[in-house]
Protein backbone atom coordinates (compact mmCIF):
# COMPACT_ATOMS: atom_id res chain seq x y z
CA UNK A 1 0.00 0.00 0.00
CA UNK A 2 1.40 3.41 -0.94
CA UNK A 3 0.02 6.93 -0.55
CA UNK A 4 -1.21 6.93 -4.14
CA UNK A 5 -2.90 3.55 -4.06
CA UNK A 6 -6.69 3.54 -4.15
CA UNK A 7 -6.94 1.37 -1.06
CA UNK A 8 -4.98 3.97 0.89
CA UNK A 9 -6.82 6.99 -0.51
CA UNK A 10 -10.35 5.66 -0.20
CA UNK A 11 -10.18 3.16 2.62
CA UNK A 12 -7.17 3.20 4.90
CA UNK A 13 -6.65 6.95 5.34
CA UNK A 14 -10.28 8.08 5.74
CA UNK A 15 -11.20 5.15 8.01
CA UNK A 16 -8.11 5.61 10.16
CA UNK A 17 -8.72 9.35 10.43
CA UNK A 18 -12.39 8.93 11.31
CA UNK A 19 -11.74 6.35 14.01
CA UNK A 20 -8.84 8.36 15.40
CA UNK A 21 -10.98 11.52 15.44
CA UNK A 22 -13.57 10.00 17.72
CA UNK A 23 -11.38 8.08 20.14
CA UNK A 24 -11.73 9.47 23.67
CA UNK A 25 -8.13 9.89 24.82
CA UNK A 26 -4.67 10.50 23.40
CA UNK A 27 -3.37 7.23 24.83
CA UNK A 28 -6.08 5.26 23.05
CA UNK A 29 -5.43 7.24 19.86
CA UNK A 30 -1.74 6.37 20.11
CA UNK A 31 -2.52 2.67 20.51
CA UNK A 32 -4.90 2.82 17.57
CA UNK A 33 -2.33 4.59 15.41
CA UNK A 34 0.25 1.95 16.25
CA UNK A 35 -2.10 -0.82 15.17
CA UNK A 36 -3.04 1.08 12.02
CA UNK A 37 0.64 1.69 11.26
CA UNK A 38 1.49 -1.96 11.74
CA UNK A 39 -1.35 -2.93 9.44
CA UNK A 40 -0.14 -0.42 6.86
CA UNK A 41 3.40 -1.72 7.12
CA UNK A 42 2.44 -5.40 7.12
CA UNK A 43 0.64 -4.85 3.82
CA UNK A 44 4.00 -5.07 2.07
CA UNK A 45 4.96 -8.27 3.88
CA UNK A 46 4.57 -9.62 7.42
CA UNK A 47 8.27 -10.43 7.85
CA UNK A 48 9.07 -6.73 7.58
CA UNK A 49 6.70 -6.06 10.46
CA UNK A 50 8.58 -8.59 12.61
CA UNK A 51 11.84 -6.76 11.93
CA UNK A 52 10.21 -3.40 12.68
CA UNK A 53 8.76 -4.66 15.96
CA UNK A 54 11.95 -6.38 17.11
CA UNK A 55 13.92 -3.25 16.30
CA UNK A 56 11.44 -1.22 18.35
CA UNK A 57 11.97 -3.52 21.33
CA UNK A 58 15.72 -3.34 20.91
CA UNK A 59 15.95 0.45 20.96
CA UNK A 60 13.32 0.70 23.68
CA UNK A 61 15.31 -1.50 26.05
CA UNK A 62 18.63 0.02 24.96
CA UNK A 63 17.39 3.52 25.76
CA UNK A 64 16.16 2.48 29.19
CA UNK A 65 19.33 0.52 29.87
CA UNK A 66 21.46 3.56 29.03
CA UNK A 67 19.59 5.45 31.73
CA UNK A 68 19.97 2.91 34.53
CA UNK A 69 22.34 3.77 37.34
CA UNK A 70 24.63 0.83 36.68
CA UNK A 71 25.17 1.85 33.08
CA UNK A 72 24.99 5.62 33.34
CA UNK A 73 27.74 5.80 35.93
CA UNK A 74 30.03 3.53 33.96
CA UNK A 75 31.33 5.00 30.71
CA UNK A 76 32.54 1.67 29.36
CA UNK A 77 29.12 0.08 29.90
CA UNK A 78 27.35 3.09 28.37
CA UNK A 79 29.53 2.89 25.30
CA UNK A 80 29.05 -0.87 25.06
CA UNK A 81 25.26 -0.68 25.19
CA UNK A 82 25.16 2.17 22.69
CA UNK A 83 27.60 0.71 20.19
CA UNK A 84 26.20 -2.81 20.37
CA UNK A 85 22.71 -1.44 19.67
CA UNK A 86 23.87 0.81 16.85
CA UNK A 87 26.05 -2.01 15.54
CA UNK A 88 23.03 -4.32 15.37
CA UNK A 89 21.01 -1.71 13.51
CA UNK A 90 23.82 -1.10 11.06
CA UNK A 91 24.23 -4.86 10.66
CA UNK A 92 20.54 -5.09 9.78
CA UNK A 93 21.04 -2.51 7.05
CA UNK A 94 24.19 -4.23 5.83
CA UNK A 95 22.50 -7.65 5.79
CA UNK A 96 19.52 -6.55 3.76
CA UNK A 97 20.98 -3.87 1.52
CA UNK A 98 24.65 -4.57 1.02
CA UNK A 99 25.55 -8.18 1.81
CA UNK A 100 24.62 -9.69 -1.55
CA UNK A 101 26.20 -6.92 -3.62
CA UNK A 102 29.42 -6.53 -1.61
CA UNK A 103 30.11 -10.20 -0.90
CA UNK A 104 29.12 -11.67 -4.28
CA UNK A 105 32.67 -11.29 -5.74
CA UNK A 106 34.03 -13.43 -2.90
CA UNK A 107 31.40 -16.02 -2.01
CA UNK A 108 28.37 -17.53 -3.71
CA UNK A 109 25.45 -15.51 -2.37
CA UNK A 110 23.28 -15.60 -5.48
CA UNK A 111 20.89 -18.16 -4.05
CA UNK A 112 20.37 -16.26 -0.79
CA UNK A 113 16.80 -15.12 -0.59
CA UNK A 114 17.27 -11.70 1.01
CA UNK A 115 14.67 -9.03 0.40
CA UNK A 116 14.99 -5.75 2.28
CA UNK A 117 11.86 -4.74 4.20
CA UNK A 118 10.24 -1.59 2.84
CA UNK A 119 11.55 1.59 4.46
CA UNK A 120 14.38 -0.15 6.33
CA UNK A 121 16.89 2.59 5.53
CA UNK A 122 14.52 5.27 6.79
CA UNK A 123 13.29 3.83 10.05
CA UNK A 124 16.70 2.39 10.96
CA UNK A 125 18.09 5.91 10.80
CA UNK A 126 15.23 7.14 12.96
CA UNK A 127 16.06 4.37 15.44
CA UNK A 128 19.75 5.30 15.47
CA UNK A 129 18.79 8.94 16.03
CA UNK A 130 16.84 7.90 19.14
CA UNK A 131 19.75 5.92 20.56
CA UNK A 132 22.16 8.76 19.82
CA UNK A 133 19.85 11.35 21.39
CA UNK A 134 19.63 9.28 24.58
CA UNK A 135 23.36 8.50 24.59
CA UNK A 136 24.30 12.16 24.05
CA UNK A 137 21.69 13.13 26.67
CA UNK A 138 19.75 15.25 24.18
CA UNK A 139 16.59 13.39 25.18
CA UNK A 140 15.56 11.28 28.14
CA UNK A 141 14.79 7.69 27.23
CA UNK A 142 11.26 6.85 26.21
CA UNK A 143 9.61 5.04 29.13
CA UNK A 144 6.53 3.94 27.21
CA UNK A 145 6.86 1.13 24.70
CA UNK A 146 3.72 2.40 22.99
CA UNK A 147 5.26 5.81 22.43
CA UNK A 148 8.40 4.18 21.08
CA UNK A 149 6.37 1.97 18.75
CA UNK A 150 4.49 4.98 17.42
CA UNK A 151 7.70 6.96 16.88
CA UNK A 152 9.27 4.13 14.88
CA UNK A 153 6.29 2.86 12.94
CA UNK A 154 3.93 5.80 12.33
CA UNK A 155 2.59 5.06 8.86
CA UNK A 156 2.99 8.67 7.69
CA UNK A 157 6.75 8.26 7.59
CA UNK A 158 7.71 4.60 8.00
CA UNK A 159 8.15 3.66 4.34
CA UNK A 160 9.96 6.66 2.84
CA UNK A 161 10.59 9.15 5.60
CA UNK A 162 11.03 12.00 6.35
CA UNK A 163 13.68 10.69 8.73
CA UNK A 164 12.45 12.01 12.02
CA UNK A 165 14.87 12.65 14.84
CA UNK A 166 13.50 11.55 18.18
CA UNK A 167 14.11 14.77 20.06
CA UNK A 168 11.85 16.66 17.62
CA UNK A 169 9.08 14.07 17.74
CA UNK A 170 8.89 13.04 21.38
CA UNK A 171 6.80 15.94 22.67
CA UNK A 172 4.15 15.28 20.02
CA UNK A 173 3.53 11.81 21.39
CA UNK A 174 1.82 13.31 24.42
CA UNK A 175 0.42 16.50 22.97
CA UNK A 176 -0.74 17.18 19.41
CA UNK A 177 -3.91 19.17 18.92
CA UNK A 178 -5.45 19.33 15.45
CA UNK A 179 -7.30 22.47 14.43
CA UNK A 180 -9.68 22.91 11.53
CA UNK A 181 -7.23 25.25 9.78
CA UNK A 182 -4.50 22.63 10.07
CA UNK A 183 -6.82 20.11 8.46
CA UNK A 184 -7.58 22.46 5.54
CA UNK A 185 -3.91 23.22 5.00
CA UNK A 186 -3.00 19.57 5.30
CA UNK A 187 -5.65 18.60 2.76
CA UNK A 188 -4.31 21.19 0.30
CA UNK A 189 -0.77 19.95 0.90
CA UNK A 190 -1.84 16.35 0.35
CA UNK A 191 -3.47 17.24 -2.97
CA UNK A 192 -0.40 19.22 -4.06
CA UNK A 193 1.84 16.27 -3.24
CA UNK A 194 -0.47 13.88 -5.03
CA UNK A 195 -0.54 16.14 -8.10
CA UNK A 196 3.26 16.45 -8.11
CA UNK A 197 3.51 12.68 -8.18
CA UNK A 198 0.68 11.74 -10.55
CA UNK A 199 0.62 14.69 -12.94
CA UNK A 200 4.30 15.52 -13.27
CA UNK A 201 6.63 12.84 -11.87
CA UNK A 202 4.85 9.84 -13.36
CA UNK A 203 4.60 11.48 -16.78
CA UNK A 204 8.27 12.46 -16.73
CA UNK A 205 9.06 8.85 -15.90
CA UNK A 206 7.76 7.93 -19.36
CA UNK A 207 10.02 10.55 -20.92
CA UNK A 208 12.99 9.20 -19.00
CA UNK A 209 12.34 5.56 -19.84
CA UNK A 210 12.05 6.38 -23.55
CA UNK A 211 15.44 8.05 -23.61
CA UNK A 212 17.39 6.09 -21.00
CA UNK A 213 19.15 4.03 -23.63
CA UNK A 214 19.51 6.90 -26.10
CA UNK A 215 23.14 7.68 -26.92
CA UNK A 216 22.63 11.06 -28.58
CA UNK A 217 23.58 14.29 -26.85
CA UNK A 218 20.05 15.68 -27.10
CA UNK A 219 18.59 12.43 -25.79
CA UNK A 220 21.04 12.33 -22.90
CA UNK A 221 20.30 15.90 -21.87
CA UNK A 222 16.53 15.50 -22.05
CA UNK A 223 16.84 12.20 -20.20
CA UNK A 224 18.94 13.79 -17.46
CA UNK A 225 16.58 16.74 -17.01
CA UNK A 226 13.54 14.49 -17.08
CA UNK A 227 15.05 12.27 -14.40
CA UNK A 228 16.03 15.10 -12.07
CA UNK A 229 12.62 16.73 -12.31
CA UNK A 230 10.93 13.36 -12.00
CA UNK A 231 12.94 12.58 -8.86
CA UNK A 232 12.19 15.98 -7.39
CA UNK A 233 8.46 15.89 -8.00
CA UNK A 234 8.22 12.23 -7.02
CA UNK A 235 10.05 12.53 -3.73
CA UNK A 236 8.87 16.03 -2.80
CA UNK A 237 5.36 14.96 -3.76
CA UNK A 238 5.63 11.97 -1.46
CA UNK A 239 7.11 14.17 1.28
CA UNK A 240 4.23 16.64 0.97
CA UNK A 241 1.78 13.78 1.29
CA UNK A 242 3.66 12.38 4.29
CA UNK A 243 3.69 15.75 6.06
CA UNK A 244 -0.01 16.17 5.29
CA UNK A 245 -0.81 12.70 6.65
CA UNK A 246 1.16 13.57 9.76
CA UNK A 247 -0.84 16.76 10.20
CA UNK A 248 -4.13 14.91 9.81
CA UNK A 249 -3.18 13.15 13.02
CA UNK A 250 -1.55 16.10 14.75
CA UNK A 251 2.07 15.31 13.97
CA UNK A 252 4.42 17.91 12.57
CA UNK A 253 6.91 16.05 10.40
CA UNK A 254 10.00 17.88 9.17
CA UNK A 255 9.99 19.53 5.77
CA UNK A 256 12.07 17.54 3.32
CA UNK A 257 12.34 19.90 0.34
CA UNK A 258 12.65 23.65 0.12
CA UNK A 259 12.76 24.67 -3.54
CA UNK A 260 16.17 23.07 -4.14
CA UNK A 261 16.53 24.43 -7.66
CA UNK A 262 16.72 27.96 -6.30
CA UNK A 263 19.96 27.07 -4.55
CA UNK A 264 23.03 29.07 -5.44
CA UNK A 265 25.70 26.79 -4.02
CA UNK A 266 26.25 23.07 -3.51
CA UNK A 267 25.92 23.51 0.24
CA UNK A 268 22.67 25.42 -0.28
CA UNK A 269 21.13 22.78 -2.50
CA UNK A 270 21.81 20.12 0.12
CA UNK A 271 20.09 22.31 2.68
CA UNK A 272 17.04 22.20 0.41
CA UNK A 273 17.00 18.62 -0.96
CA UNK A 274 16.10 15.60 1.21
CA UNK A 275 16.66 17.85 4.19
CA UNK A 276 15.89 15.19 6.80
CA UNK A 277 18.69 12.96 5.49
CA UNK A 278 21.17 15.83 5.28
CA UNK A 279 20.34 16.87 8.82
CA UNK A 280 20.66 13.31 10.08
CA UNK A 281 24.15 12.99 8.67
CA UNK A 282 25.02 16.43 9.95
CA UNK A 283 23.78 15.76 13.49
CA UNK A 284 24.91 12.17 13.91
CA UNK A 285 28.02 11.83 11.75
CA UNK A 286 29.46 15.24 10.82
CA UNK A 287 29.16 17.00 14.16
CA UNK A 288 30.34 14.04 16.29
CA UNK A 289 33.38 13.73 13.99
CA UNK A 290 34.19 17.34 14.74
CA UNK A 291 32.38 19.07 11.90
CA UNK A 292 34.36 22.03 10.70
CA UNK A 293 35.62 22.97 14.18
CA UNK A 294 38.98 21.39 13.53
CA UNK A 295 41.80 21.62 11.02
CA UNK A 296 40.93 22.05 7.34
CA UNK A 297 42.20 18.56 6.61
CA UNK A 298 40.01 16.98 9.26
CA UNK A 299 37.03 19.08 8.21
CA UNK A 300 37.50 17.88 4.62
CA UNK A 301 37.85 14.32 5.87
CA UNK A 302 34.61 14.68 7.84
CA UNK A 303 32.80 16.00 4.78
CA UNK A 304 34.05 13.14 2.63
CA UNK A 305 33.05 10.54 5.23
CA UNK A 306 29.55 12.00 5.39
CA UNK A 307 29.18 11.98 1.62
CA UNK A 308 30.59 8.52 1.12
CA UNK A 309 28.10 7.26 3.68
CA UNK A 310 25.31 9.27 2.06
CA UNK A 311 26.12 7.66 -1.27
CA UNK A 312 26.22 4.20 0.27
CA UNK A 313 22.93 4.83 2.08
CA UNK A 314 21.29 5.24 -1.31
CA UNK A 315 22.68 2.04 -2.76
CA UNK A 316 25.28 -0.67 -2.58
CA UNK A 317 26.74 -0.35 -6.04
CA UNK A 318 29.72 1.72 -7.13
CA UNK A 319 27.70 4.34 -8.97
CA UNK A 320 26.14 5.47 -5.68
CA UNK A 321 29.56 5.67 -4.08
CA UNK A 322 30.69 7.75 -7.06
CA UNK A 323 27.64 9.98 -6.56
CA UNK A 324 28.56 10.56 -2.93
CA UNK A 325 32.20 11.24 -3.80
CA UNK A 326 31.11 13.68 -6.50
CA UNK A 327 29.17 15.86 -4.10
CA UNK A 328 31.67 15.44 -1.29
CA UNK A 329 34.50 16.70 -3.49
CA UNK A 330 32.38 19.59 -4.76
CA UNK A 331 31.51 20.63 -1.23
CA UNK A 332 35.17 20.53 -0.25
CA UNK A 333 36.09 22.67 -3.25
CA UNK A 334 33.32 25.13 -2.40
CA UNK A 335 34.29 25.33 1.26
CA UNK A 336 38.07 25.29 1.09
CA UNK A 337 39.01 26.53 -2.37
CA UNK A 338 36.34 28.87 -3.68
CA UNK A 339 35.23 30.18 -0.29
CA UNK A 340 33.71 33.68 -0.68
CA UNK A 341 34.85 34.07 -4.30
CA UNK A 342 31.82 32.08 -5.43
CA UNK A 343 29.45 34.67 -3.98
CA UNK A 344 30.87 37.30 -6.34
CA UNK A 345 29.38 35.49 -9.31
CA UNK A 346 26.01 36.75 -10.51
CA UNK A 347 23.19 35.15 -8.53
CA UNK A 348 21.21 33.85 -11.53
CA UNK A 349 24.38 32.41 -13.04
CA UNK A 350 25.15 30.66 -9.75
CA UNK A 351 21.67 29.17 -9.60
CA UNK A 352 21.93 27.85 -13.17
CA UNK A 353 25.43 26.46 -12.69
CA UNK A 354 24.50 24.75 -9.45
CA UNK A 355 21.42 23.27 -11.10
CA UNK A 356 23.55 21.83 -13.91
CA UNK A 357 26.15 20.52 -11.45
CA UNK A 358 23.35 18.87 -9.49
CA UNK A 359 21.87 17.29 -12.61
CA UNK A 360 25.29 15.98 -13.71
CA UNK A 361 25.74 14.32 -10.34
CA UNK A 362 22.46 12.52 -10.65
CA UNK A 363 23.58 10.75 -13.80
CA UNK A 364 25.34 8.37 -11.37
CA UNK A 365 22.04 7.97 -9.62
CA UNK A 366 20.00 6.68 -12.53
CA UNK A 367 22.79 4.67 -14.11
CA UNK A 368 22.57 0.95 -13.54
CA UNK A 369 26.30 0.72 -12.90
CA UNK A 370 29.45 2.82 -12.93
CA UNK A 371 30.23 1.83 -16.51
CA UNK A 372 26.68 2.70 -17.53
CA UNK A 373 27.17 6.17 -16.05
CA UNK A 374 30.15 6.69 -18.37
CA UNK A 375 27.87 5.78 -21.26
CA UNK A 376 25.53 8.58 -20.22
CA UNK A 377 28.33 11.09 -19.64
CA UNK A 378 29.83 10.39 -23.03
CA UNK A 379 26.45 10.94 -24.63
CA UNK A 380 25.95 14.20 -22.73
CA UNK A 381 29.08 15.62 -24.29
CA UNK A 382 28.21 14.44 -27.78
CA UNK A 383 30.67 11.55 -27.73
CA UNK A 384 28.03 8.82 -27.66
CA UNK A 385 27.39 6.45 -30.53
CA UNK A 386 24.26 8.32 -31.56
CA UNK A 387 25.97 11.64 -32.18
CA UNK A 388 24.21 14.93 -31.42
CA UNK A 389 20.57 13.94 -31.98
CA UNK A 390 18.26 11.47 -33.63
CA UNK A 391 14.59 11.26 -34.56
CA UNK A 392 13.64 9.56 -31.31
CA UNK A 393 15.26 12.20 -29.13
CA UNK A 394 13.58 14.97 -31.12
CA UNK A 395 10.23 13.24 -30.94
CA UNK A 396 10.39 12.74 -27.19
CA UNK A 397 11.55 16.33 -26.67
CA UNK A 398 8.59 17.61 -28.71
CA UNK A 399 6.21 15.38 -26.76
CA UNK A 400 7.47 16.37 -23.32
CA UNK A 401 8.78 19.92 -23.87
CA UNK A 402 5.74 21.55 -22.28
CA UNK A 403 5.85 19.19 -19.33
CA UNK A 404 9.55 19.85 -18.77
CA UNK A 405 8.97 23.60 -18.88
CA UNK A 406 6.02 23.21 -16.49
CA UNK A 407 8.18 21.15 -14.16
CA UNK A 408 10.94 23.75 -14.27
CA UNK A 409 8.51 26.58 -13.51
CA UNK A 410 6.65 24.79 -10.75
CA UNK A 411 9.81 23.57 -9.08
CA UNK A 412 10.20 27.19 -8.00
CA UNK A 413 7.74 29.43 -6.25
CA UNK A 414 5.21 29.70 -9.06
CA UNK A 415 2.43 27.87 -7.22
CA UNK A 416 2.65 30.17 -4.23
CA UNK A 417 2.90 33.26 -6.46
CA UNK A 418 -0.21 32.27 -8.43
CA UNK A 419 -2.09 31.48 -5.26
CA UNK A 420 -1.21 34.84 -3.74
CA UNK A 421 -2.26 36.64 -6.92
CA UNK A 422 -5.58 34.82 -6.86
CA UNK A 423 -6.18 35.85 -3.26
CA UNK A 424 -5.30 39.47 -4.00
CA UNK A 425 -7.43 39.73 -7.15
CA UNK A 426 -10.43 37.61 -6.21
CA UNK A 427 -10.59 38.56 -2.54
CA UNK A 428 -13.78 37.03 -1.10
CA UNK A 429 -14.23 34.50 -3.85
CA UNK A 430 -10.63 33.31 -3.54
CA UNK A 431 -11.23 30.54 -0.94
CA UNK A 432 -14.05 29.01 -2.99
CA UNK A 433 -12.03 29.22 -6.21
CA UNK A 434 -9.06 27.61 -4.48
CA UNK A 435 -11.20 24.78 -3.13
CA UNK A 436 -12.63 24.11 -6.60
CA UNK A 437 -9.16 24.28 -8.17
CA UNK A 438 -7.67 21.90 -5.64
CA UNK A 439 -10.55 19.47 -6.07
CA UNK A 440 -10.11 19.57 -9.84
CA UNK A 441 -6.38 18.95 -9.51
CA UNK A 442 -7.04 16.11 -7.09
CA UNK A 443 -9.56 14.51 -9.44
CA UNK A 444 -7.18 14.84 -12.37
CA UNK A 445 -4.37 13.23 -10.38
CA UNK A 446 -6.72 10.45 -9.32
CA UNK A 447 -7.72 9.89 -12.93
CA UNK A 448 -4.06 9.47 -13.82
CA UNK A 449 -3.60 6.91 -11.06
CA UNK A 450 -6.75 5.02 -11.99
CA UNK A 451 -5.73 5.15 -15.63
CA UNK A 452 -2.71 3.08 -14.61
CA UNK A 453 -0.15 5.64 -15.63
CA UNK A 454 1.15 5.70 -12.07
CA UNK A 455 4.66 4.55 -11.21
CA UNK A 456 6.15 3.34 -7.95
CA UNK A 457 7.70 5.99 -5.73
CA UNK A 458 11.39 6.25 -6.68
CA UNK A 459 12.73 6.60 -3.15
CA UNK A 460 10.99 3.38 -2.09
CA UNK A 461 14.01 1.68 -3.68
CA UNK A 462 16.25 3.11 -0.96
Amino acid sequence: MTFTSLSFLFVFLPVTWLINRFLPSLKIRNIFLILASWLFYAWSGPSGLVILTLMTFLIYFSGLLLNTEKVEENLARRRAVFWISVGLLVYLLFFYKYLKVWLSPFINVASLDIVAPVGLSFYTFSAISYLADVYMRKSPPCKSFLDMALFVSFFGKVTMGPIVEYHSFSSQLSNRPVTRNQMYEASALFIRGFAKKALIADQLANCFSQLNANSTALGAWVCMLAYVFQLYFDFSGYSDMAIAVGRFFGFELPVNFDHPFRADSVKDIWNRWHISLSHWFRDYIYFPLGGSRCSKLKAARNLMIVWILTGIWHGASLNFLAWGLYFGILLCIEKFVLKDRWNKVNHMARVLIIFMIFCFGFVFFYSTSLSNSFFHYKALFGMGEGGMMDARALFVLREYFLLLVTAAIFSGNMRQTLQNQLIVRCKRAAPLILVVLYLLIGVLALAMVIGSTSQAFLYAAF
Binding site: L54, F57, L58, Y60, F61, L64, E69, K70, L112, I114
Partner: protein, 167 residues
Protein backbone atom coordinates in the same frame (compact mmCIF):
# COMPACT_ATOMS: atom_id res chain seq x y z
CA UNK B 1 19.70 -2.73 50.65
CA UNK B 2 17.84 0.61 50.28
CA UNK B 3 14.56 0.39 48.38
CA UNK B 4 15.76 2.68 45.53
CA UNK B 5 18.90 0.66 44.93
CA UNK B 6 16.81 -2.51 44.94
CA UNK B 7 14.44 -1.02 42.39
CA UNK B 8 17.36 0.24 40.33
CA UNK B 9 18.95 -3.22 40.27
CA UNK B 10 15.64 -4.78 39.24
CA UNK B 11 15.21 -2.25 36.43
CA UNK B 12 18.73 -2.91 35.24
CA UNK B 13 18.12 -6.67 35.12
CA UNK B 14 14.77 -6.26 33.38
CA UNK B 15 16.10 -3.84 30.77
CA UNK B 16 19.25 -5.86 30.21
CA UNK B 17 17.18 -9.01 29.72
CA UNK B 18 14.89 -7.19 27.30
CA UNK B 19 17.86 -5.77 25.43
CA UNK B 20 19.60 -9.14 25.09
CA UNK B 21 16.37 -10.96 24.20
CA UNK B 22 15.38 -8.49 21.49
CA UNK B 23 18.91 -8.51 20.07
CA UNK B 24 18.98 -12.31 19.97
CA UNK B 25 15.51 -12.55 18.43
CA UNK B 26 16.49 -10.01 15.79
CA UNK B 27 19.67 -11.86 14.89
CA UNK B 28 17.85 -15.19 14.88
CA UNK B 29 15.04 -13.87 12.71
CA UNK B 30 17.32 -12.61 10.00
CA UNK B 31 19.61 -15.63 10.21
CA UNK B 32 16.94 -18.30 9.82
CA UNK B 33 16.52 -17.80 6.05
CA UNK B 34 20.29 -18.21 5.70
CA UNK B 35 20.15 -21.61 7.36
CA UNK B 36 17.27 -22.90 5.29
CA UNK B 37 18.14 -24.88 2.23
CA UNK B 38 17.93 -22.91 -0.95
CA UNK B 39 16.59 -24.32 -4.20
CA UNK B 40 19.23 -25.48 -6.63
CA UNK B 41 19.66 -23.31 -9.68
CA UNK B 42 21.17 -26.13 -11.74
CA UNK B 43 19.21 -27.24 -14.79
CA UNK B 44 17.47 -30.59 -14.75
CA UNK B 45 19.50 -31.97 -17.62
CA UNK B 46 22.80 -31.01 -16.01
CA UNK B 47 21.72 -32.54 -12.69
CA UNK B 48 20.79 -35.79 -14.42
CA UNK B 49 23.99 -35.91 -16.48
CA UNK B 50 26.17 -35.35 -13.45
CA UNK B 51 24.17 -37.77 -11.35
CA UNK B 52 24.75 -40.72 -13.68
CA UNK B 53 28.30 -39.78 -14.65
CA UNK B 54 30.60 -42.80 -14.89
CA UNK B 55 27.83 -45.09 -13.62
CA UNK B 56 26.91 -48.23 -15.52
CA UNK B 57 23.51 -47.27 -16.86
CA UNK B 58 23.00 -50.47 -18.89
CA UNK B 59 20.34 -51.64 -16.47
CA UNK B 60 18.62 -48.26 -16.42
CA UNK B 61 16.94 -47.80 -19.80
CA UNK B 62 14.79 -44.71 -19.96
CA UNK B 63 11.07 -45.16 -19.45
CA UNK B 64 8.21 -42.89 -20.29
CA UNK B 65 7.61 -40.56 -17.36
CA UNK B 66 3.89 -41.33 -17.46
CA UNK B 67 4.76 -44.77 -16.17
CA UNK B 68 5.66 -43.49 -12.73
CA UNK B 69 1.93 -43.58 -12.15
CA UNK B 70 2.04 -47.32 -12.65
CA UNK B 71 5.14 -47.97 -10.58
CA UNK B 72 4.84 -45.35 -7.85
CA UNK B 73 1.17 -44.39 -7.88
CA UNK B 74 1.98 -40.71 -8.30
CA UNK B 75 1.18 -38.42 -11.15
CA UNK B 76 4.04 -36.91 -13.17
CA UNK B 77 2.05 -33.66 -13.20
CA UNK B 78 3.16 -33.06 -9.61
CA UNK B 79 6.66 -32.34 -10.86
CA UNK B 80 8.26 -29.86 -13.20
CA UNK B 81 10.60 -32.50 -14.65
CA UNK B 82 10.78 -36.27 -14.36
CA UNK B 83 13.43 -38.80 -15.36
CA UNK B 84 12.47 -42.44 -14.83
CA UNK B 85 14.95 -45.19 -15.73
CA UNK B 86 14.05 -48.81 -15.27
CA UNK B 87 14.22 -52.08 -17.15
CA UNK B 88 11.04 -54.02 -18.00
CA UNK B 89 12.51 -57.10 -16.30
CA UNK B 90 10.52 -57.43 -13.09
CA UNK B 91 13.29 -59.50 -11.48
CA UNK B 92 15.71 -56.64 -11.94
CA UNK B 93 15.54 -54.24 -8.98
CA UNK B 94 17.56 -51.45 -10.60
CA UNK B 95 15.61 -48.26 -11.02
CA UNK B 96 16.17 -44.53 -10.88
CA UNK B 97 13.67 -41.73 -10.43
CA UNK B 98 14.85 -38.13 -10.56
CA UNK B 99 12.32 -35.31 -10.17
CA UNK B 100 12.30 -31.55 -10.01
CA UNK B 101 9.52 -29.64 -8.24
CA UNK B 102 8.68 -26.22 -6.89
CA UNK B 103 6.70 -26.91 -3.72
CA UNK B 104 7.02 -28.87 -0.51
CA UNK B 105 3.84 -30.84 -1.13
CA UNK B 106 5.41 -32.47 -4.19
CA UNK B 107 8.48 -33.39 -2.12
CA UNK B 108 6.27 -34.98 0.49
CA UNK B 109 4.32 -36.98 -2.10
CA UNK B 110 7.58 -38.14 -3.65
CA UNK B 111 8.86 -39.34 -0.30
CA UNK B 112 5.65 -41.23 0.48
CA UNK B 113 5.57 -42.78 -2.98
CA UNK B 114 9.15 -44.04 -3.00
CA UNK B 115 8.88 -45.36 0.55
CA UNK B 116 5.77 -47.32 -0.47
CA UNK B 117 7.64 -48.54 -3.55
CA UNK B 118 10.59 -49.68 -1.44
CA UNK B 119 8.27 -51.59 0.92
CA UNK B 120 6.43 -53.18 -1.99
CA UNK B 121 9.67 -54.20 -3.72
CA UNK B 122 11.04 -55.68 -0.53
CA UNK B 123 7.88 -57.77 -0.14
CA UNK B 124 8.21 -58.89 -3.74
CA UNK B 125 11.88 -59.92 -3.55
CA UNK B 126 12.17 -61.12 0.01
CA UNK B 127 11.28 -64.76 -0.54
CA UNK B 128 12.87 -65.59 -3.88
CA UNK B 129 15.34 -62.87 -4.98
CA UNK B 130 17.71 -62.18 -2.10
CA UNK B 131 20.18 -60.17 -4.20
CA UNK B 132 17.43 -57.90 -5.47
CA UNK B 133 16.08 -57.65 -1.92
CA UNK B 134 19.49 -56.47 -0.68
CA UNK B 135 19.67 -53.86 -3.40
CA UNK B 136 16.24 -52.49 -2.49
CA UNK B 137 17.19 -52.50 1.20
CA UNK B 138 20.12 -50.22 0.32
CA UNK B 139 17.99 -47.95 -1.83
CA UNK B 140 19.05 -44.32 -1.77
CA UNK B 141 16.44 -41.60 -1.31
CA UNK B 142 17.70 -38.01 -1.33
CA UNK B 143 15.23 -35.16 -1.08
CA UNK B 144 16.25 -31.51 -1.36
CA UNK B 145 14.52 -28.17 -1.74
CA UNK B 146 13.56 -28.60 -5.40
CA UNK B 147 15.12 -31.91 -6.49
CA UNK B 148 14.71 -35.48 -5.31
CA UNK B 149 16.28 -38.79 -6.26
CA UNK B 150 15.36 -42.40 -5.67
CA UNK B 151 17.83 -45.00 -6.94
CA UNK B 152 18.25 -48.73 -6.47
CA UNK B 153 21.27 -50.59 -7.76
CA UNK B 154 24.80 -51.69 -7.04
CA UNK B 155 26.06 -48.13 -7.59
CA UNK B 156 23.14 -46.47 -5.82
CA UNK B 157 25.26 -44.69 -3.21
CA UNK B 158 27.71 -43.40 -5.79
CA UNK B 159 24.86 -42.14 -7.97
CA UNK B 160 23.16 -40.51 -4.96
CA UNK B 161 26.39 -38.78 -3.90
CA UNK B 162 26.91 -37.50 -7.41
CA UNK B 163 23.34 -36.22 -7.37
CA UNK B 164 24.02 -34.10 -4.29
CA UNK B 165 27.15 -32.67 -5.82
CA UNK B 166 25.26 -31.89 -9.01
CA UNK B 167 22.90 -29.56 -7.15
Amino acid sequence: MPKNKNKSSTSFIVYLTGFIASALFLIAFISVPLLQEKPSTASFSSVYTKTIKNADMENYPEKNKLQIEEYFQISPDLFEEVQFDRTDDALNANELLLVKFDNDAAALKFEEAVNSRIDAQKNTYESYAPEAYDLVKDAQVRIHKNYALYVVGSEAKKIADQFEEAL
